[in-house]
């Protein structure tokens, strides 16, 4: 035995000696894999050894996981820098992992170890288990040892105090949660049975001698716990629900009436709470006043309400258990009130509520999962039958045809500050804009056609849009004179200027001719058409589109130096009409202008 002990606890890389030691001592029939009785023998030897080690550790008064630790082991790389027992466990774990020995052996040893250790040492042992979680959780080991592990953990939980060892309990639960697959049913309360024995006791009779201030309220308040403890009772009898909701209303009214201030919320900060953690609140009537001022107490109660409401609405019960319509409405209003109260309960009420809502939402998913019979979460890969269908569904529809256009459209709303940007590109002044073209038009400059601005289509198009907005007169010349006509005359070099100035008069003459042609039309219409022609450069207005003609006349009004007497008369005659029309025009123009403005707010706006 001592030889085995020395051999198995020798220092050095485990791989080098572990298997060899087993082979030496067991002399198995097969070299690398032990038969059943050989396994049993090895297990017995190991358990005996472990027992010895623990016994001697206990005698020496050392912590068992540190027992036999070498003081001079200061080499960080040395994996054996810990005590003998962890070393032994490491060796066994290695053997199990390589399937030289039966996989359950390590679990058996761990169970032994926890049973032999004091609670304090168990913490270290459990730390070891946690550190080896990855290896222990491997499929082949897990399958052999999951029941032993569950038993070990449950035993530990049973030994621990629920009130004093909350952290350790939590560690164990966390470990179990990680160790077992998510869909493991063994810990699920399939039937949804409530722990009705968790009864909250409170004083039923007012204390004698002292004038109990609000005993009715006290009783009402704590009586709620009966319902929280057994929510199922609420759905069966409507009278109970009535009683519950009226009691709850009283409590919520009281909470409402005494909102906690920020300071009161700060007073019991979370750190303090962690230090004085209690499983249950005390129910003495003397504490009522203090408890009502405690924001975390209030939160507990309100959270209980939310959990209860969620339960009542949860599916999966028989139809007759589902809440009635009126009850549903009451539930909704109660829930809203509770949420509002949670929100105003400091500290960080809003954040708390959000977190709670999130958790309850997740909880709902679990409820569904349980209702559907605890399906495993591993999903079979879905056969890709119709890749097109899936693809189609995913493609988003763009409001304006494609992504770029939609983005462009929304650009203004997304960049509200662009308007204030000092560097933003504004609609250029028409005079500035046309300068390059005007310079090119100077024959003395001798610009080649290829570089002439008039042949730059983008430039011209932009210029026309600006002209349409800023300089209608110039814009109107486009029909007759082409792009060069639009350039304001002042910009042109003097020699070219005459060429573009003379034309309009000619144009007017031509319009006059048109007028005489359509002599059968009424005078007014004729005048109108003349104006229309002058402005729009189109003679088709002669068809009698009075409204349009008028509107254009209005515009031309400002342009024409000397309006004809007819014109004046006409203008005077239909003043109101004009006003209306003008108004309309202005409207449309400003609308357009608005659009343009928003479009042009942004420097990178590509017009082309």
């Amino acid at each position: 035995m001592d030889a085995f002990r020395d051999s198995i606890l020798q220092r050095g890389p485990i791989e080098s000696f572990a298997l060899k030691t087993v082979q030496d001592f067991i002399q198995p029939q097969r070299q690398t894999k032990l038969a059943q009785d050989e396994n049993q023998m090895l297990e017995n030897m190991l358990r005996t050894l472990l027992q010895q080690l623990v016994a001697s550790a206990a005698q020496s008064g050392e912590q068992i996981m540190q027992y036999g630790q070498l003081i001079d082991d200061d080499d960080d790389n040395n994996v054996h820098g810990h005590g003998q027992i962890p070393h032994l466990l490491d060796v066994v774990l290695y053997l199990c992992e390589k399937e030289h020995v039966e996989g359950g052996m390590i679990f058996q040893l761990l169970e032994d170890l926890t049973e032999m250790s004091t609670m304090k040492n168990c913490k270290d042992v459990f730390g070891y288990i946690e550190s080896k979680q990855d290896i222990l959780g491997k499929q082949e080991l897990f399958a052999r040892g999951k029941l032993v592990m569950l038993r070990t953990c449950n035993q530990l939980l049973r030994r621990l105090s629920k009130a004093n060892d909350v952290v350790f309990c939590g560690r164990i639960l966390m470990f179990l949660a990680h160790f077992f697959p998510l869909s493991e049913r063994s810990a699920v309360n399939i039937k949804g049975v409530f722990n009705t024995s968790n009864e909250t006791k409170y004083e039923k009779d007012p204390p004698k001698g002292r004038i109990s201030v609000d005993f009715n309220f006290y009783k009402t308040f704590w009586s709620l716990q009966e319902y929280f403890c057994n929510p199922a009772s609420l759905t069966t009898a409507s009278t109970k629900w009535q009683k519950f909701s009226s009691s709850l209303a009283v409590v919520l009214n009281t909470f409402d009436a005494q909102p906690l201030s920020e300071e009161e919320g700060e007073a019991n900060s979370l750190e303090e709470e962690a230090a004085t953690f209690n499983i249950k609140y005390l129910t003495s009537s003397k504490l009522m006043g203090l408890e009502l001022k405690d924001s975390s107490f209030r939160r507990h109660i309100l959270l209980q309400c939310l959990i209860l409401f969620d339960y009542l609405r949860a599916p999966g019960k028989n139809d007759k258990d589902l809440p009635s319509e009126t009850m549903k409405e009451e539930l909704k209003s109660c829930e809203d009130r509770v949420k509002k109260l949670l929100e105003i309960t400091p500290p960080k009420g809003k954040e708390f509520l959000r977190a709670v809502e999130h958790i309850l939402e997740r909880e709902k998913n679990w409820v569904w999962w349980k209702r559907d019979g605890c399906q495993p979460f591993e999903k079979q890969p879905i056969e890709n039958k119709s890749p097109n269908a899936g693809h189609k569904r995913r493609r988003q529809r763009w409001r304006l045809g494609n992504k770029e256009l939609s983005q462009l459209w929304r650009w203004a709303e997304q960049n509200p500050n662009a308007e204030k940007d000092s560097q933003r590109v504004k609609t250029p002044d028409i005079a500035d804009y046309w300068k390059p073209l005007a310079e090119d038009m100077d024959p003395s400059a001798g610009i080649e056609d290829a570089y002439h601005h008039k042949n730059n289509r983008v430039y011209c198009w932009k210029g026309l849009r600006f002209a349409a907005r800023q300089d209608l007169e110039g814009f109107s010349r486009f029909t007759d004179l082409g792009i060069e006509g639009v350039v304001p005359v002042e910009l042109l070099p003097p020699e070219v200027r005459s060429k573009y100035q003379a034309r309009p008069n000619e144009k007017a003459k031509r319009a006059k001719k048109d007028e005489t042609k359509g002599g059968s039309l009424e005078e007014e219409t004729k005048a109108v058409s003349a104006e229309g022609a002058l402005v729009g450069g189109s003679t088709s207005e002669a068809e009698g589109e009075v409204g349009r003609g008028e509107s254009e006349a209005m515009e031309s009004d400002a342009i024409a130096d000397t309006p004809t007497p007819e014109e004046q008369q006409r203008l005077g005659g239909s003043d109101t009409d004009n006003g209306q029309e003008a108004g309309q025009i202005e409207d449309t123009e400003t609308e357009e202008g608005g659009l343009m403005d928003t479009d042009l707010n942004h420097p990178p706006m590509p017009i082309s």
């Binding site: 201030v213 909102p259 006043g289």
Partner: protein
């Protein structure tokens, strides 16, 4: 019984209807907690001139339903003791002294202040306890010996240290009475309309009065001179000062005027904040550094000194005229309908009741 009219007594029925009406149309003008570390006994002064004394423990045991909800029929509670103190409404009731020997003082529309020994008052069940003290407001003499009508007394305030009782009277004067002799020590003249409320600031030997003329005044008790006028007299449209309250340290003043409460710091003599509420303020009160106020709405509001609304509690009277606080934190709100709503320190309704008639 149903349909049996043999013993029908029409007079009795008529009387019962009238009595019920009378109960429902009464107004509680003031409630006062008896000097006792436990919030047990309190006195209710109502518009029928009675002082009724109720005990909390019996009220709570009587009230079957906890809390209160709208439209509910309120409990009619028989008082432990009741006395017809005044002809016409009783407007204010105060305790003079802290211990068992305290005097219960009340004033009313008949221009009298009456005082009872509290122990006698509480112990006797019959309503014929003789008042120990009776002070009658002076009537103003006119030409040919004509006497003015008796001015009513709207508020009393006590200062046991100097053995004085102050009254706010309807002749726009405040009076200081000597409790030993029962004589007027000082008259405070200056308001241009009748007084609504009055509070004594014994630490500075001052009194503060609020009047219908829209001003509150601070008076020096030694000289009887007005030291300071809060609010301007010129504007006729100003609302009356309906209520006035000092805090424990007597350095903060809350002054209810119209729909506003002005909070003054007296040492600095400056208005710190103005709280406005949707309804007319009818009574204010300090609870440490918080202000309780009631008004022409069924709500008890609680503000901090900066005017931030801390909480509002629904209470039974549709218009509340009085709020009084017991040091243990229990609040009694009295108002229209003869209703008194007692609210615990947690903000829950301890009991809501109408006290029955004499």
């Amino acid at each position: 019984m149903y349909g049996d009219a043999t013993n029908w007594n029409e007079d009795e029925y008529r009387e019962s209807i009238l009595k019920e009406r009378e109960i429902q149309t009464r107004t509680v003008f003031r409630t006062a907690w008896a000097p006792n570390p436990n919030p047990d006994a309190f006195v209710v002064a109502s518009s029928d001139g009675t002082l009724a004394f109720h005990s909390m423990s019996s009220l709570v045991s009587q009230s079957a339903a906890f809390g209160y909800s709208k439209g509910e029929d309120f409990m009619v509670a028989a008082p432990e003791g009741v006395v017809r103190a005044h002809e016409g409404p009783a407007y204010d009731v105060k305790f003079y002294g802290e211990d068992e020997d305290a005097l219960l003082l009340s004033c009313g529309d008949d221009g009298r202040v009456r005082g009872w020994k509290w122990r006698d008052f509480a112990d006797s069940t019959e309503n014929l306890v003789k008042p120990l003290l009776e002070l009658t407001n002076p009537q103003h003499k006119g030409p040919w010996g004509a006497l003015s009508p008796m001015p009513e007394i709207n508020a009393i305030s006590v200062d046991p240290q100097s053995a004085s009782v102050y009254t706010a009277a309807g002749d726009s004067c405040a009076y200081c009475w000597d409790m030993e002799s029962g004589k007027i020590k000082m008259t405070f003249k200056g308001h241009s309309d009748y007084l609504h409320c009055l509070v004594s600031r014994s630490s500075a030997s001052q009194i503060l009065t609020g009047s219908e003329d829209g001003t509150a005044r601070i008076w020096d008790c030694k000289t009887g001179k007005c030291i300071k006028v809060i609010g301007s007299q010129e504007k006729k449209s100003r609302f009356r000062i309906s209520s006035i309250a000092l805090d424990e340290s007597e350095s903060w003043l809350a002054c209810g005027q119209g729909k506003n409460i002005a909070v003054w710091n007296l040492p600095a003599s400056e208005c710190v904040s103005t709280i406005s509420s949707p309804a007319h303020v009818q009574d204010v009160m300090f609870d440490e550094k918080q202000i309780l106020s009631v008004g022409a709405e069924p709500l008890l509001r609680r503000f901090d000194l900066n005017g931030a609304l801390l909480s509002q509690i629904h209470c039974a009277p549709s218009s509340a005229f009085s709020v009084s606080l017991h040091p243990a934190g229990v609040i009694a709100v009295g108002g229209y309908g003869g209703l008194v709503d007692v609210i615990s320190q947690f903000g829950s309704h301890l009991c809501t009741f109408r006290s029955s008639l004499l």
